[in-house]
C-alpha cells in the first residue's frame, strides 16, 4: 500500500485513492477461464509436440545423400589415426635407409671378451704343454670334483694336489721362469674348514667362481709323478688330469682355512710356484680313478700349506709345519727347493672411514668442532667405511649418514641443544613452515 510521503501530498493522495476505489473494473471470468484452459492445453501439448518433432527427426531423417559432416564428426579420431600411422611408417622407413657411419675406433674392441680371456689364461698356462706336444690340441678337462683316494690321504709320500686354504685371503704367485714374463697373482677363496672332529676330511669343491684354482683330477701314487705332456695321451688320461684354471676371485668371499683351528692362527700368504710347463698339467695314471674321484684334501694341520709347483711338473703341497699326518706332498723327490716360498702375514682388512663434511653456513667453526668432538667421537670407525656429515635447512641439526663395511647404511640426526650435540629424531613435520621438531633420542 502506497503511503503518503508527507502531509503536503495527503489531500492529493486521498483523491487518488478515492478515485481508485471509485473505479469498478470487473474482470471477465469467462475470458480468464478460457485463457487458463488454453494455456494449460498448450503447456501439456508442448512436450508432446517436442517428442513428435524429435521422433520425426530421428525416425525419418530427411537425408538426401551421404552426410559427410556427420561421418567425419563421428569417425574423426579413427580417421586421424590413418594418416598419422602412414606418416610414422614413412619416417621410420626413411630413418632405416639412412647410412650408418661408425668410426673405426669405436668398432675396435678395447678388451677381449671374458670367455676369450679365460681361454687366453688357460692357453698361457698350458702353453708349454702345447708346445711340447707340438700341436695346438687343447687339453680336455672334466668337470666335477675329484676325490683323493683314501690311500693318499695319509702317508708321507703323497702326490695329492691341494688347494690353499687360509683364514683370510691368500695370494698365489705363479713364478714363471726368468725367461717368462707371465705372472698371475690371484686370490684364492678359502674353503670352509672341516669340523674339528674330522680334521682330516676336507673336500674341496671346484668352485665356479672365476679365477679359482680348481684341481680337477688327482695323480695316482703308484706311478712316477712324471708328466707326459704328450698331446696324444690327453684323451686317455683326461679323467686323471690335473687342471689349474685361473679364474677371478671375488674379494668379498669370506676366508676359511683348511682346518678349524687354523682359523685362529695368524693368516699367511701362501705362495705357490707353478712353472709354465706345469701350470696345466696332466698326470698320467695307469689306474682308473674311482667314482668318488673328487678333489678331497685331508689336512690336520693348523698351519697353512705351501703348494709348490716346480718346473719339473711336480705339484707339492705341504703344511708349513710338517706334522706326522698332514704332510701333503705331491712329489717330495721332485720338490723344487730352489723356489722360495713367499710368506707374508695377511693383515685383517681395516679401512679407515672416509668422512665428508657439508656444513651449512650458519654452523660456526666452534659448533663444527664441538660436533666432531662429541658426535663423531662416538662413531665406531671400525665398521664404518663412509660417513657423510651434512646440515641442511634446519638450524642446529646435522645429518650423519653411515655406510658400514657390509654395505648397509643408516642415518642419524644430531641436534644441538643447550650447546651440546645430541642424537635426535624428528617427531613432526609442519607443512606450512617446512620445519621439523626434534626430540632427543633416549
Amino acid at each position: 500500500m502506497a503511503r503518503p510521503t508527507s502531509k503536503y501530498f495527503t489531500p492529493v493522495i486521498k483523491k487518488i485513492l478515492e478515485a481508485k476505489k471509485a473505479e469498478n473494473i470487473v474482470v471477465d471470468q469467462e475470458f480468464k477461464n478460457v485463457l487458463r484452459a488454453q494455456m494449460l492445453s498448450k503447456i501439456s501439448a508442448a512436450p508432446v509436440r517436442k517428442e513428435v518433432v524429435r521422433e520425426k527427426h530421428d525416425v525419418l531423417p530427411e537425408r538426401t545423400g551421404f552426410d559427410f559432416a556427420e561421418f567425419f564428426n563421428k569417425f574423426r579420431y579413427p580417421l586421424a589415426i590413418v594418416p598419422s600411422m602412414f606418416l610414422l611408417v614413412i619416417v621410420a622407413m626413411s630413418a632405416m635407409k639412412l647410412p650408418v657411419s661408425i668410426p673405426s675406433e669405436v668398432i675396435v674392441p678395447t678388451s677381449t671378451p671374458v670367455q676369450n680371456q679365460n681361454d687366453a689364461v688357460e692357453d698361457s698356462i698350458s702353453g708349454s704343454i702345447s708346445n711340447e706336444s707340438g700341436g695346438a690340441q687343447k687339453l680336455k678337462t672334466f668337470s666335477g670334483s675329484s676325490v683323493l683316494p683314501s690311500n693318499y690321504r695319509n702317508g708321507g709320500k703323497t702326490t695329492s694336489p691341494a688347494v690353499i686354504s687360509n683364514p683370510q685371503s691368500s695370494n698365489l704367485d705363479f713364478d714363471f721362469p726368468e725367461n717368462s714374463s707371465n705372472q698371475i697373482q690371484q686370490t684364492v677363496p678359502v674353503q670352509k674348514a672341516a669340523p674339528v672332529t674330522q680334521p682330516s676330511a676336507q673336500q674341496i669343491e671346484p668352485s665356479a667362481n672365476p679365477f679359482n684354482f680348481v684341481l680337477q683330477s688327482l695323480l695316482e701314487p703308484q706311478q712316477e709323478e712324471s708328466f707326459e705332456n704328450n698331446a696324444n695321451n690327453t684323451e686317455d688320461v683326461e679323467d686323471q688330469s690335473v687342471n689349474f684354471q685361473a679364474v677371478p676371485v671375488q674379494p668379498s668371499v669370506p676366508a676359511v682355512s683348511a682346518s678349524q683351528n687354523s682359523l685362529q692362527t695368524q693368516p699367511e700368504i701362501q705362495a705357490v710356484k707353478i712353472s709354465p710347463e706345469v701350470a696345466d698339467m696332466n698326470l698320467e695314471q695307469n689306474t682308473q680313478p674311482s667314482a668318488n674321484d673328487a678333489l678331497k684334501v685331508q689336512l690336520n694341520s693348523d698351519q697353512p700349506l705351501d703348494l709348490q709347483l716346480d718346473q719339473n711338473k711336480t705339484l707339492l703341497a705341504e703344511p708349513l709345519t710338517t706334522s706326522t699326518t698332514q704332510n701333503l706332498q705331491m712329489d717330495a723327490t721332485l720338490l723344487d727347493t730352489q723356489d722360495t716360498v713367499l710368506r707374508a702375514p695377511v693383515e685383517s682388512l681395516v679401512l679407515e672411514p672416509q668422512y665428508t663434511f657439508y656444513y651449512s653456513a650458519y654452523i660456526s667453526d666452534a659448533d663444527k668442532a664441538a660436533f666432531e668432538a662429541e658426535a663423531l667421537a662416538a662413531v665406531d670407525s671400525s665398521n664404518v667405511t663412509f660417513l657423510n656429515v651434512s646440515s641442511g635447512t634446519d638450524r642446529d641439526v646435522v645429518e650423519v649418514s653411515y655406510t658400514f663395511t657390509d654395505g648397509t647404511t643408516t642415518t642419524k640426526l644430531f641436534k644441538k641443544l643447550d650447546g651440546e650435540w645430541h642424537l635426535a629424531k624428528y617427531v613432526q613435520r609442519y607443512f606450512y613452515d617446512n620445519g621439523l621438531q626434534y626430540q632427543v633420542a633416549e
Binding site: 502506497a2 510521503t5 487518488i16 478515492e18 478515485a19 473505479e23 473494473i25 480468464k32 485463457l35
Partner: protein, 178 residues
C-alpha cells in the same frame, strides 16, 4: 507472502502445469492494469493473454533480484501495452473512466456521486500529466507497487523512483489546485 510466491515460481519452473497457480494469483491485477491503460476490451484480452504467454515462455529466465514476480508480470504487461501503442501509432493516454464501464451496483448513490466527482477530477489531472508521471502515479497508487518494482517495470533506477514520485505528486497537486 513473498516466500509463497517464490515457492510457486520454483514449482512452475519444475512443472509447467504449476504455472496455473501463478495465473490464478495474478490474473486480476494484470487485467486491471491493462484495462486502465487500454479502453478496448478485446485489446485488453489480447494484451493480457500475450502477457501470460510471455511470462510462461520466459519463466525459466526469471531470477529473484529484489522484486516480486508480480512486478515482473507488470513489466511484461507494460511492454506489451507500449508495443501495442507503437503498433497503433497512438500515444494517447488511457482514460481512467474508460475502464470503469461496468457500474458498481453495491455502492450507494451518495458515495457514487462523491467518487464520481473525484474520479472526474483525478481523471482530468491525470490526463494533463506527462506519460512518465502518470505511469508512476498509476503504478504507485493504483497498482500499489514499491519503488523497486516500479523501477523494474519502467526500466528506471530504483534510487530515482522516490524523487520521481515526489515530482509527479507535486505536479498533480499543482494541477488539481488550479
Amino acid at each position: 507472502m513473498l516466500e509463497q510466491e517464490q515457492k510457486l515460481v520454483e514449482e512452475a519452473k519444475q512443472n509447467p502445469e504449476q504455472f496455473a497457480a501463478l495465473y490464478d494469483r495474478y490474473f486480476d491485477q494484470i487485467y486491471r492494469y491493462v484495462y486502465r491503460r487500454v479502453n478496448d476490451k478485446d485489446t485488453v484480452e489480447d494484451l493480457v493473454s500475450q502477457t501470460f504467454y510471455d511470462a510462461f515462455s520466459h519463466l525459466k529466465s526469471f531470477e529473484w533480484r529484489g522484486f516480486s514476480f508480480s512486478a515482473w508480470l507488470y513489466k511484461i504487461a507494460h511492454n506489451n501495452v507500449l508495443k501495442w501503442y507503437r503498433e497503433q501509432g497512438k500515444t494517447r493516454t488511457v482514460e481512467i473512466e474508460e475502464g470503469m464501464q461496468i457500474p458498481d451496483v453495491r455502492e450507494d448513490v451518495m458515495r457514487d456521486v462523491i467518487r464520481s466527482e473525484d474520479k472526474s477530477e483525478v481523471q482530468a489531472v491525470m490526463a494533463k500529466l506527462d506519460y512518465e508521471d502518470r505511469e508512476i502515479i498509476r503504478l504507485k497508487f493504483f497498482e500499489e507497487l514499491s519503488n523497486i518494482e516500479i523501477a523494474e517495470v519502467m526500466g528506471l533506477s530504483a534510487n530515482h523512483i522516490g524523487v520521481k514520485v515526489f515530482r509527479a505528486l507535486k505536479k498533480f497537486k499543482q494541477l488539481i489546485s488550479q
